[in-house]
């Protein structure tokens, strides 16, 4: 048992190295992946906030929301990567070798989580440059980053699962479009109180909104605007629960799909 456990770790590391080697060979792609959320952040800060004449203040509200949005958009990145991988012959070689099967998925998740973490650091730096600040303790900042990465982890397994269900590059485009409403029907840009009632409810119960509200709270970015509903009150709890539930559903499904490739 202990040997097979250590092979899981070794194989997972080998597969993570593979992803890192891909990065080293495609620096432009890596850069684009980091620049895209920064571009979104700047665009919305100055377009919406600037349009209202409150760019500096709006950044306080928007920046944590954009962190959460970036985590949700990671779903699409993961799905693209897994779909590409599954359509490559190399997967057959992995599966005909005595390696731990799940290591392919572990390598993927390690690389994606690392990418998202780096992306988050870059966005925080840009946020500070455009006037966003955190007002809480260092521990609170760490907790906020932790919640964001939990959301990313949930999106990761949804992305892997969808890639295996859909399996074809043309299906990825459909999911890429569907990620947008999930990301935008949230409280990332505006508060739900100003929306029509039904939309406000959808937005408040969006898992991404829970994370956005919770991290605003932890960063000390104007928590009062979140709303007064139960979902808004319990955002911290929901920001933990949603990812745990989503991972609880999609991780086993994804792993089962992966092993079922041999049926």
């Amino acid at each position: 048992m202990s040997t097979s456990m250590s092979w899981i770790a070794t194989d997972s590391w080998t597969m993570t190295r593979r992803e890192l080697a891909h990065w080293a060979r495609q620096p432009v792609q890596v850069l684009v992946g980091l620049v895209f959320p920064v571009m979104m952040l700047l665009m919305f800060t100055y377009l919406i906030g600037g349009g209202k004449g409150i760019a500096g203040q709006y950044a306080e509200f928007l920046v944590p929301g954009m962190f959460a949005l970036t985590m949700v958009f990671g779903l699409d990145a993961t799905m693209v990567a897994v779909t590409q991988d599954l359509n490559k012959g190399v997967i057959d070689r992995f599966r005909s070798m005595p390696m731990t099967n799940g290591a392919v998925l572990v390598g993927r998740s390690a690389a994606d989580m690392l990418q998202s973490f780096v992306s988050l650091l870059v966005m925080m730096a840009v946020g500070v440059a455009i006037g966003w600040r955190w007002h809480g303790s260092f521990a609170a900042v760490l907790a906020a980053v932790g919640l964001l990465l939990m959301l990313r982890f949930a999106m990761l397994w949804i992305g892997i699962h969808l890639a295996m269900v859909a399996g074809r590059p043309e299906m990825v485009a459909a999911v890429q479009i569907l990620v947008w409403p999930v990301g935008f029907l949230s409280n990332a840009f505006t508060v739900p109180q100003n929306m029509p009632g039904w939309l406000g409810a959808v937005v408040e119960w969006n898992p991404m909104s829970a994370t956005a509200t919770a991290v605003r709270d932890l960063f000390g970015n104007d928590p009062g605007v979140a709303g007064t509903s139960w979902a808004a009150d319990q955002a911290g709890l929901l920001a933990v629960l949603w990812p745990v539930v989503l991972v609880g559903i999609f991780l086993p499904l994804a792993v089962r799909r992966f092993t079922a490739l041999s049926k």
Partner: protein, 314 residues
Amino acid sequence: MAADAIIVEGVRKRFGEKAALDGLDLRVGSGTVHGVLGPNGAGKTTAVRVLATLLRADEGRVEVAGHDVRRRPDEVRRRIGLLGQHAAVDEELSGRQNLDMFGRLHHLGARHARVRADELLERFGLAETGRKAVKRYSGGMRRRLDLAASLITDPEVLFLDEPTTGLDPRGRAEVWESVRSLVGGGTTVLLTTQYLEEADQLADRVSVIDGGRVVADGTPDGLKERLGGDRIDVVVRDAAQLARTAELLPEGATVDADRRLASAPVTDRMEALTGVVRALRDAGIDAEDVALRRPTLDEVFLSLTGRPKETEAV
């Protein structure tokens, strides 16, 4: 341990309505090269995928290198190498990075994996490719890297699924050369192919499969003998001499007036050739072309299955 490196008994595999394997039986002796010959859609690739633990059969028993593929897939995977129809390497990485990665995944350890990667690159003439990504390799180089990746652990059993399909003659010769050098090392090879010539060049025994089951097997020579063996074709200048020409050919000659062609089965190739050439000259017949040829795969299938080879894609 059994002397047979591969035992396949009554294997069936359906995809929806279609039976890809319909009671396949195979036995491959240790250290031999076994050719599986068949047209597209005959079940060759499905068979290889079942044997290489990539696909689970619906019915039947499969043992590879002494282990049941369903019950002990990990034991089988430790002992096999697979060269699929499409290059199973990471196109974004270099050849060295690929082999190093596969070595680690075979649990050789980091240092041994690196040494092994260098050995294989050297052996397959890829040492000079350096950091170049595999997607920039030529078709032949890619195949050789793929083959190298299949040989990381000196497998007991190697599966080659149409190893030369899509390669130019030079790439094909390179792969054949590599396969021959392996056999000396005692590796059991199962090779699928659409080309009779390839089976003839490489295999000790051949199973012809069609519709997911074996329709004939034996040594390449034995099969060819049963299938009528080689033929001699004579094309004459003057169609009026065709009937006379057919009389000079060995027994069983047929004529095709449109092509001014007379054709007959032969048993001893050289004797038939020299005999026919002399007879034609003595009779004063002017031949445009005299040629010995192997039966084509189409003729093989026609004689084995009573219908022409299907050309549908898989």
